[in-house]
Chain length 309, copies 2
Amino acid sequence: MSLLTVGSVAFDAIETPFGKTDKIIGGAATYIALASAFYNNDQKIVSVVGEDFPNEMLEELKKRNVDLEGLQIKKGEKTFFWSGKYHNDMNSRDTLVTELNVLEHFDPIIPASYQGVDYLMLGNLSPQVQRQVIERLTERPKLIAMDTMNFWMDIAMDDLIETIKLIDVLIINDEEARQLSGEYSLVKASKIIRAMGPKYLIIKKGEHGALLFHNENMFYAPALPLAEVFDPTGAGDTFAGGFMGYIASTDDISFDNMKRAIINGSALASFCVEEFGTERLKKINNKDLEERIEEFVALTNFDMEQVIS
Amino acid sequence: MSLLTVGSVAFDAIETPFGKTDKIIGGAATYIALASAFYNNDQKIVSVVGEDFPNEMLEELKKRNVDLEGLQIKKGEKTFFWSGKYHNDMNSRDTLVTELNVLEHFDPIIPASYQGVDYLMLGNLSPQVQRQVIERLTERPKLIAMDTMNFWMDIAMDDLIETIKLIDVLIINDEEARQLSGEYSLVKASKIIRAMGPKYLIIKKGEHGALLFHNENMFYAPALPLAEVFDPTGAGDTFAGGFMGYIASTDDISFDNMKRAIINGSALASFCVEEFGTERLKKINNKDLEERIEEFVALTNFDMEQVIS
């Protein structure tokens, strides 16, 4: 089934305790598309880059059957640029530079050929742009998932709440869930957030895994404990891309299938952090992924036989 | 199979965002014994209290077939007392008062009838006292598990390292694992710590669950996400007690059985935090526990069928 991803395609400059990059290619839509491509051969992107964006990554995406008709290339303008530095624990980072460039006035035009798309993944962008995309689709996709961040809660909460009303799956991290709901307990937060609209909520907890909430159901997917986290950039987008790629390819939005989708997203995210930027994602193959998923099964699987006295 | 628990039996005064207690009964050995009693009918305790310790809890323990011959009652002395205050996130606390009292010169005398015990759980105590217990047992138990804390790493690291050499399962939290190993990554930390002696390492991560390491095997048990954590005091001891009670009652130290033991320990710990002190643990029955374990199965269970394209 077809999956439309809307999100940034960007330059990043990253500093971690392990090293430093020059401008490398990043952006939510880039990670989402690379991850989703492991499952799904029918992907479309709506995004925008400047004239300075290299052809190389576009070729990588095309090779993976990603339809780039909706990727606007703005002559004479510059691609979105983000630069950040991770702290020693890798769980927090400082933003050093944000140059919006082409993203500042991004108008998410939906090519006619994209209408009727089955699934929609809204990567982190202004909630107003995310809402425009939903409104411009003539037919509602089977499932709309959305990422956002605390930045939008700080400066555009009303807009964010309007957009959240329209979606099915909200994917945010634990801090964001706490900020959005005003509740520290994630169980309580999940109820408040789902009352805002999304029937499904995924709360990412970084190295501690991810939680999926739907009605009275809860699923806890661990993260794979890693000896080394080299660069966390893009892990959340990779997770979301794996999740939605799996859902789209299986065309099954049951709770049980969402669990599988989360394990797949987690497996891909665990690769993402092993090298800078998209490097690792571009290198791994299906066999690597299958082996990693086996590790997740081994990590969490137990057989219960009770012996309460 | 028989389980010997060595640890404090104490008074605690606890303050959380939800309320405040006067002196209530606590102590590692108390929680461990209450938890272990859900599985195991052959428990022994080595500990010490003062003349001020009420009979009520001793009766509670006897009702659960806990042999108290090794519990010393010191005439004219006072029971160990700890008082602490939890911060709003419940993940950290300040110690307000520590009165060692009878623990200051605790000599862990092993009654003759305790010799030949099958399993040993060393609750958090000075590593020197923990080592004395091991040395005083004429026959080595089938499995020796041990808890400790950062306090002993700060003031008695050499002693701690000597004791750790002698045990099989070390049960500590993530911060303690980092301090003990000098490594931030828990995977790396686990290798360093296991090279110090224990073949098994359990790293508790509070609301994020627990990890079990053995050889090349890793198991990740989630914690049950709770709407309310009322009082975390004793949760770690309850976890350890459920773990060792399960192991002793099944008399099976395979990795697969340790996974089950961890799920059982996690389930009991999830009850412990629902009320102050030991209140909840004393009230729940086997049916409550079975239902809680079902919740853990539902929380983590997934069925993988791969669809990598």
